[in-house]
Homo-oligomer: 324 residues x 6
């Protein structure tokens, strides 16, 4: 039986386009609200794109994904999982940000994530650009040490710097995370990488640290099963973060992003891939880089919302097992 | 001092694009919630377009206007009115509807409006198609008798029937309201009417009942001041409803509507017109016919949200006077 | 030799974007026109979305598909079929509807379909929402008994009711058809079903009646040939209806629909699937749920028009065989 | 009483978005059809943009205006004119064209227009680029000598040549018409001209020929009444052509055109201007340069369709007087 | 005679949509190029929106305005000014920026502007958000002392700070400029201000410093002539900067901006206003806040490009006088 | 080491959205410029759609692809090729055209291509409609005799004529080229052909000449490796032209084209196909039929730009080998 305090409004009673939009039509439980301590999985937004080196707009991602997520129903047809029956989930709002100051924004995001983690709530957020992942990872890692990661993306996001020494951008979060010791490269797998390189060897640093990079061509060559087998092997049973950059999808499926690359994943591939992560010890996750101004038909937000639901199923299934 | 339970989130703290969208960034206070009885003006949505005879989509109006309304600030530059300082306002959610049954939807909307009026809350809603106004008017009128109306629109909405006997559509609400005795035609003024007629004399019924129809050409000829003088004279000091159909605006300003007519009002004209209604005994109001699927750039929703704010200023100023 | 009264205008004489748009650039032969009794396949529109529980707009589908269908040529490259050489086809207009009354609209659609069937014309329509199929099926079944069906869709459309007892919506037509005895569930196959469920077991009723449900994952697992083999086996040689909901396609291919679900079919898959239905005893067919307001680039309408052509080839090939 | 053979379908019976779209929802009467000789005003399209020097797309204008024109009703609210009661009007189809050969297209258009004029039908067309006007004018003038013209446009279209000697483009039709003796410059008035010049004196040729050029600034300075007085004085009671280039409207009102210029007319101004031409001896007219690919919201086509209706009222009123 | 090194490509030779797009189709003369020292007016872009507190995208403004500016011709019809005949103008490229670091970006912009001013080139730029103006003003002012300003905008941009102490945003540049002593508030006029306030008195600081604020209602009440008279009086003959925020225009005319406010200026009003600044001692100017992702039809960029041309005419006329 | 005169600006220094857009962010070296004779591969545009029989707009392709190409980086991840390190590449501008005269445009394009070939520069262009290929082929062939071709397209473009004798359109270039003896049909392979035919046998002429036509269904059936094996076998080691019509891609991937056909290639398939052409003796190439007005999200231009980069890698690798 679902707890009514943490249950989405159903579309058979109130049409899906009706009402103010929250993530998955869940009640909003902001930090400090009476029900706060009962939340197990906290869905939130990071309305920020200060780390974007290219086309902006991801700051508007959380609101658009809230809207699109009202199209998603409760039970995963393929896996049978109803995350809202397994766990107490809530929309816990957006992190504070300062759109005109990168360092200040990162500090605000980290403080919010700290509040979440301090209450034992699993953070599951919608970006925001990919730099948003870094402060959230810091908060998660602070309590449980270096994390493993399943990272699905067109880009490795392990560049060193841009524009002559700019160390913090959406192209660098995982290099920083490894340097900070909060991400374990040997327990990190990157899937779906593609697109031209700025220069030869651009790609080498991460592999040297021990990251298993499965680029898009290799992903297609290996096939889903083998990729999943490797992914599970790489991250093992230790705490693992799942990060899904929407530009892993082909722009035909997800035009609304800042740095599109042709020749990417279909949404069906992405669904099977995420679904196949079930069993991983997921301690935090995100879907990032949704940029509504470049998403005229809304397909990107719908894809992000549905993949968020798939990740939520994986996370909820893990939380439920831990509880049991 | 604003009551923090009824105060919008300010954009100087949380960026306007951040957070789940509510009307004017007000807290949501759904019927029955602890703070319900303290609400003075209840902003809500009617997510319904079952009465539409032409292009649909107004059912999505409330959510899109919620989004756009986060762009509006608190203090009316021209009049100095801060409605949130004058009154306790809240987003009270959306009415229930049944998109596949017109009569059932009207009953649900009326019941919701009854709940609102029963608590002494002034209803201010975002449509929805113009038929939505009829059940809300019924609830308002039930307690205080026949209403006057300032009706700003491209169409009179006093047709008798469509499609061979269909009496309830968005083209007929005010004929029905007059027949039901809840709208007093002699205290009704319609401003901005334009567009071709189906047939000669199409327009006659309302005038015969005593409605003062100021079509767009006459509106321009008379000038704002004279129009306002007449409007105030027609409705007097008795209870009056304000209904703003967004198609009163020219489609260059508001393309997102079901029955656009070229040659209409600018938003500035609409602002001055609504602002000039200050002093009217406003007991209910709406902005209707915003159809997001036809509003690619979002201008229509922004116009609707800003005009909703202008109407709110008029309503709040009235409520505050009554209180005093 | 094509009969000039029933032959599309060719794009090598009149550019495809020129002229008023009719379905497949066929002449219009409205009911009662001199050539009416000579029509063998009647292409028409159902300009109605009164059964929609979600995003509207399918009422505008017929006109947009008319426009897009002028892009289609006459001869199927793969099968070599020229339906216009095999049969006398015409655009027979749109059914009457009453956008503000669901029951009245269904009655009007059924009467129009009755007129079509009474003249021995095979009905092939463009929706409109999926509830449109029910009254057309009634007319077809009235003369020849319970129908088999090949149903390609993201959703089973066999829910019982919405919004507290609403029995007729675009989510319920096939439950009603089975209850009315006009659709034989044991001769029904549903292909491509996907998307989350409202609740566990949502999906069970149809299967219990004997419908063969091939959801999208099973469809991909079985492969086209096996799916076609099963489809032919299920429907056999008795009269069969083909219903194609455009949301069977992935939203990357068909964004213009009311209830998009990520992870669907490509247009090429859909073409091969429909083409593989050749040989079925097709007595009626449709392409439904095209919602132009959500189709900014027009891809959905083009897909619908081209799939309509593929279905027409199947239907014409059947009609020609019967004639022979 | 309207003749049912020449009467638009009314939106109170069949919703305006339903049915195949014809101009003003009139029956189609193609050249040679049984009712051809009874047509008094023939509305047609010129689906061609071969004369465009800038952004293309006007070839698609006729079809999009057909669609938008189904939004227009029958009776002019301001003037009371119902053109369909005054005259027998029909949609007489599109002219043949050859999109890859300018000279051949012009010949085809002229032949079509000749057929129209030979039957005593007043030609009223939707372009197409402005070069389309030249062959139609030739056909009209052939029978009645040099024409006067009321030309509403952002550009004078009297340049001499482009691209090193290209004499026929949409920037040159009226220079050619004057040179050919079919347009009388002394009976020509151009209203609304604006936008920067290629070079000093660009504008001089037409004025030297005697054209009365009222540029946009002068139009605003003089006021509508004075402009109309001059326009009537210039063209007098002799046969006059009315040509409305949609780029006379500001791009806020009509973005869908090839050569937009900011700072133009509102639709209301255009309506009053056209309406004020009543009484002119109109022998042919057009609305040109509607380019649907640049008209995402459809406002331009709606403006064109409504202005076409206004021009039709002027033309029908003249035809009716002549008949009487 | 125009100098061929500084003359736009004409549209009568090369179609306007052809060729790589530069500002006004001028040759590119980047800093240090052989012709650099001969440039008199340098048109450039500031591809940056790091100061944006609301919807982003202005970083893409320069490229989109380059594209739209190829639609503008050479000679101002109203004033007869051909700026390219009066002055040596060039597209001098974009300033360097660092999208992830506000302070670094401001430093880079200032250095670029310093290079421009050091060569005696008048800077005329396309933003970029309004904070871009501050570093450019610093460079201009460095050589000639405090500037006067004609500032056309919906917002005063004199807020103190956002988000708890953020001093540099696009809402604060002119407060900072006054504090830094580079802008003389007593020689500053702000025209077209409108939109709601965050709080009472929001507006007061600027007026207290001596800025002449003509809000939109007052602008309409005074009329153009009186506004211009005041503007000239306020700035006098001393060096003056012209800053045009595109959101001064109504969103019907310029939807592509980050903080739209309904009820604004038409493009024609803006043209007359800018044109009327002729005679001012213009030492630098800009058009800012064009956000292409919110400009689906491109109207905003076209308006910006055309207003840039109007400002260029004012600036060139001044430069030419000084030279003479 | 790359030659700085022929090296793209990198996105890690100047953001990709910044600066005037040139093809691949290469310097512009127009014919006759000092560096002209050092160019090895000349990237240019043909801003023309005069041969289009259907929806226009390809004339705007070059500029939009310039913009999108700034998103592409330098090194091909899959092949390791950095074309800019292998060859001296430049954006050499657009060809002259006359949009109102087909024959004149073809002559101008041919003269430009002659200039290119005369300097030993390999031509690589962005169309423009497919007729653009004919004049470029003429120039290439003039020096080296009949060409082989790898032609990737939805259409064979070997029709004979349109509209009653129109021999030159975008549907006929390769028939003309074969007739002119500049294209060797026996060394021509066409890949990806699909879509309905106008009439039976439409397709026969090319096959009769000896073209190897691999339609889309056969392409999928054979698999990439076999298709590539055949393609290499057909063209051999003699000079070969590569022509990529963007409508080879499915409209989900490339909506922005004049004659879309559903059921086409993904961008990933296209990338692998082009990449697999490495080793061919490429003497000229193009990507054509990109029509920006139908490309609202810009995906088509991005696909075209990225495929242009893939082709450039093939061409550069060949040029480098020849040099060595």
């Amino acid at each position: 039986m679902s707890d009514p305090r943490f249950t989405p409004i159903t579309g058979t009673e109130m049409p899906r386009y009706a009402g103010a939009a929250t993530l998955m039509r869940l009640p909003q439980v902001l930090p400090g609200a009476p029900d706060w301590e009962d939340v197990q999985i906290g869905l939130f937004g990071v309305p920020w794109d200060g780390g974007t080196t290219n086309r902006p707009g991801a700051r508007q991602g959380p609101r658009q994904v809230r809207d699109a997520s009202t199209m998603v129903r409760n039970v995963n047809r393929a896996s049978g999982i109803n995350p809202f029956a397994l766990c107490r989930c809530a929309d816990i709002g957006d992190t504070p940000v300062n759109p005109a100051d990168l360092a200040d924004s990162m500090a605000r995001i980290e403080r919010f994530a700290d509040t979440v983690c301090a209450s034992g709530i699993l953070p599951l957020f919608v970006g925001g650009d990919h730099l948003s992942t870094l402060p959230v990872m810091r908060a998660v890692s602070r309590r449980i040490g270096p994390l493993g990661m399943v990272h699905i993306d067109a880009h490795t996001d392990t560049w060193d710097s841009y524009f002559g020494g700019q160390k913090y951008t959406h192209g660098t979060p995982f290099r920083r995370a490894i340097e900070e010791g909060i991400l374990d490269p040997k327990r990190t797998v990157q899937i779906g990488i593609r697109g031209a390189l700025y220069a030869d060897g651009d790609d080498g640093w991460g592999r040297e640290q021990g990251i298993r990079v499965i680029d898009f061509d290799e992903y297609r060559a290996l096939g889903l099963e083998q990729v999943l087998r490797e992914a599970h092997a790489v991250v093992g049973s230790a705490p693992t973060y799942i990060s899904f950059d929407i530009d892993a999808l082909d722009p035909a499926y997800a035009p609304g992003t800042g740095t599109p690359e042709i020749g990417g994943m279909t949404t069906h591939e992405a669904q099977l891939l995420v679904r196949g992560l079930d069993g991983i010890n997921c301690v935090g996750a995100d879907v990032v880089e949704v940029s509504p101004p470049f998403d005229p038909g809304g397909n990107t937000a719908l894809a992000a919302a549905t993949l968020l639901f798939e990740i939520l199923c994986v996370a909820a299934s893990g939380v439920a097992k831990t509880e049991a």
